[in-house]
């Protein structure tokens, strides 16, 4: 039996399910980052840069406070799974960014 199988045997299903709450965290952080970028009127690269900063900041907080510096104990993908926002959240960021930018800066 390979070591991946052995590692997989040690994983407890309900805990993995509880930890998948990080998906909502990533979604909300993308939403608020989009709102912030829109309200501030950031354009082009500045906006995407804010998204990057927001992703790293929220991942950093979860890393230090929740995972206590050891993401491999809480997530199967380790650090990458913690940081990666995923395609859905990137589009959510763009949607919120466009929406708030339009409301605040384009309309009277």
């Amino acid at each position: 039996m390979s070591t991946e199988d052995r590692a997989a045997q040690l994983i407890f299903g309900p805990n993995v399910l509880a930890n998948s709450a990080i998906n909502s965290t990533k979604f909300l952080s993308a939403c608020f980052a989009g709102a912030a970028a829109g309200i501030l009127g950031l354009e082009n690269w500045a906006g995407f840069f804010l998204f990057l900063i927001a992703t790293l900041l929220s991942a950093g907080i979860i890393y230090s406070v929740n995972c206590k510096g050891r993401p491999n104990r809480y997530f199967q993908g380790g650090f990458i799974e913690l940081v990666n926002p995923g395609q859905d959240n990137a589009f959510t960021f763009v949607l919120m960014w466009t929406l708030l930018y339009g409301i605040v800066h384009v309309y009277d």
Partner: protein, 272 residues
């Protein structure tokens, strides 16, 4: 470009009557799609006790074998379960129709004529239709009612190639690609609301657009095996061989655990 310096002034009523309604409609239609798919799904056929017993016996054997190389079950339990299952499979005690009578080989029922497989294929097609139809309807609605005016300015630039798609209906060759029509707002919403659906409806919802990408494969797989029509006698025979093989490779996870613990804490000489 001159249009960069000059900013277009847009009527706030466009925001109230186009921007918010399109988003709201798309959210609601997504949620509606999800619940429609749930309501349209036919009930899975209830199996009889004998049939369930067959499947459960096979499942039990699979579970036992899956962890046999590093098994959490101590040897007496493992060997007793394994022996019991092997004997049951050989004698056919778990078979739905009782032990085989010894007559000629039975043929499994034809999957095409079995109504169960038909239900599976229909379910896949129904889901696809429910996905496609609202998208077409909303696109048509937007093109009919909200055509011919600039809706919003994108905060990021795009290449000129997008101009024809995003500014459809606005015939200005010089305007910046960032001023877009309502159809592009539809596309933004289409991609951007997946995250919201996952928050509202939970993972694996039927409203997100990722199911549209997966549907050719998912639909085919779902229709291929909803009701496996299998000859359990043959399966049991094969499973018995697998059980023997696994018993040969079985190692208890707690084997020699005393030596391992002592070695870990340095009370015993380490292995060379």
């Amino acid at each position: 470009m001159a249009s960069n310096a000059v900013s277009l002034y847009l009527d706030p009523q466009i925001r109230d009557w186009v921007l918010f309604p399109i988003t709201l409609v798309m959210i609601l239609v997504g949620i509606l799609r999800h619940y429609v798919v749930i309501l349209l799904q036919s009930q899975p056929k209830k199996l009889q006790r004998g049939a369930i017993r067959e499947q459960r016996a096979l499942a039990r054997s699979n579970i036992l074998r899956a962890t046999s190389a590093y098994s959490p079950i101590p040897p007496p339990f493992y060997t007793s379960i394994s022996t019991h299952l092997s004997e049951a499979f050989t004698a056919g005690t778990y078979l739905k129709d009782g032990p085989p009578k010894g007559d000629g080989p039975t043929s499994p029922p034809n999957p095409l004529s079995d109504p169960g497989a038909m239900d599976g294929m229909m379910a896949g097609m129904k889901t696809q239709m429910v996905m496609m139809v609202p998208q077409m309807v909303i696109m048509g609605w937007i093109n009919f009612f909200f055509q011919g005016f600039v809706l919003i300015k994108l905060p990021f630039p795009l290449t000129l190639g997008f101009k024809s798609m995003l500014q459809r209906g606005i015939e200005t060759p010089d305007m910046d690609v960032r001023w877009v029509s309502s159809l592009s707002w539809y596309f933004l919403n289409f991609f951007g609301l997946n995250g919201l659906y996952r928050l509202l409806l939970g993972d694996g919802n039927d409203a997100s657009s990722q199911t549209m990408n997966a549907s050719p494969f998912g639909g085919a797989n779902a229709s291929a095996n909803p009701n496996p029509v299998q000859d359990f006698n043959k399966l049991f025979k094969a499973e018995k061989d697998h059980l023997e093989f696994s018993e040969a490779t079985y190692i208890w996870v707690g084997k020699d655990v005393e030596d391992r613990v002592l070695r870990k804490y340095g009370k015993l000489a380490p292995l060379q």
